[in-house]
Amino acid sequence: MAGEPTNTEQSTVSDTPEAASNEGGIIAWTDQVSAFAYRTARDVSRSWTVLGVAVGLPAVMYLLVTATRDFPPTQKGTFAVGIAVLGAMIASLTVFGSQLAVDAEDKRFHAYRAMVVSPSADIVGRMIAAVGVAGVSLLVGLLVGLASGAPISVDGIVPAIAVFGGFIGVSVVFASAAVPVVMAANNEQYAQFVLSLIAVFAFMLTGYNGVVPSVAVLDASVVDLFPNTLATRTMALQLVATDGVEITQTDGWAVLLTAYTLASAGVAVLLVRIGLYDRGIFR
């Protein structure tokens, strides 16, 4: 049963430094991924602060804003998507970052290094849990929007794939952004505060993740290139009938978002390897 420590046999031990470099290592690597994913999910499921901020706060924000003004249904829909993506961003940052910060503060990486834990397994496992919670937050945000009368729906498999791709992209980018913050803060509470602010600032600077460009702090040409803008506009265009709403997607958004995703994940793995696991790029 998952989570029960019942291992009575010993797995093949890797002969090489990097656990994923041979067959036995791949088994060890996937075990380590599941260990971090399961532990992170368990930990966050008992952290009402993290859950409240990541899942509850964006939904409450949406309800407050839509209760104080009358929005046309389409605008309500795009706003719901923007807020739901904000929830996913907060979840990615805080779920991924908070436990990473706890491990760093408690010097637990000394033990992980001694156990020859694979840094990539560590980051992938935590990322899986963070993206899972981000998915819950996104879903809650969309359901709240739907319940309030926002016209949200998905029409076919291709739009669904586009929405999923946008969600994965923005979640991975923001989870990865937690790594340098945690390394610089070296304190869980400080890191958690800064992590939440990053998501909220990105949301405000880009005009509610690019769905209300008129309120963006940054210039439109810059807003168009932000990963949260690219992802949110993709989702809004697929989930909401946007007639009459001025949302235009950047040309080549899929390539750009994919590049952001891969680059941020790559940098995060490198930072974790070098900064937290005290390893070189290849060792």
């Binding site: 989570g3 029960e4 010993q10 090489t16 599941s34 408690d106 020859v116």
Partner: protein
Amino acid sequence: MSRPALHAEDVSKSFGGTSVLDGVDLSVDAGETVVLLGPNGTGKSVLVSCLAGGTTPSSGNIEVLGDKPASRPGTTSFLLQDALCLDKLTGRENISFYSRLNPSFTDKWQELVDLFEIADQLDQPVEHYSGGMRRKIELAIALSIDAQLYILDEPTAALDLTMVREVHHQLSELRDAGKAVLVTTHLPMDADAADRVVFITGDGVVASGTPDSIKAEVPPVVEASLKNAPTITEGVIGGEVFRGDGVVRGIVRPDTDPNSLVSHLPEARVTEPTYSDLFNYYVHLKKVN
């Protein structure tokens, strides 16, 4: 002669220009238990973290089974003080985490949690554990890893005497199974579990040997009542006496006859050195001598 399981030579570690370790040499053979004794703040935890591969030393050479530390999974089990368990998870969930994380994790934890009398608390969050319970669950995790080398940082801290004896028994089982064991402590009674005792101070390793040989090097010890402490200070090393249970003890200077020191004092005697005396001698007095 076979290669030691752990061999460290001239290991130094500095943090931001502040030296914590300076030129430490240490080795542990397979089938040997080495107890590293030293006062708080002498870099024992930093040293063992370097030896386990948890921290990179600033200089020096360390080999574990002929390789660099932490270059292969399953070679070393490292118990780090108060760092293994996540507070919000239960004891069982923490064990589960390490069982997935470490390919060499075995089911020995089931026997250990019974022996350590924490089986009934396994489903409680670790944040509700006492210091001793936390130490026991971490010990159960570290001792369930099937490794050739065990590096245990203060495994008996916060444990009651019965549990300290149980830990000593576990260490002797590891030794009998041919494992190399390095234990740090500031509790002299942990020397009971040692094949070899190493004393470390801010100056590095100041003494190393079997318990008998290291005890034999210590000059005679005198014990007197508290009120007679001033009388014996002249004859003990550094003029320093150490308080005990209603008595004071001092290590007699080489140029002093211990019997003459106590013969005129009621309730005073010359006695065999205990591990506490050894600790005081090697850690506090040897440099004075």
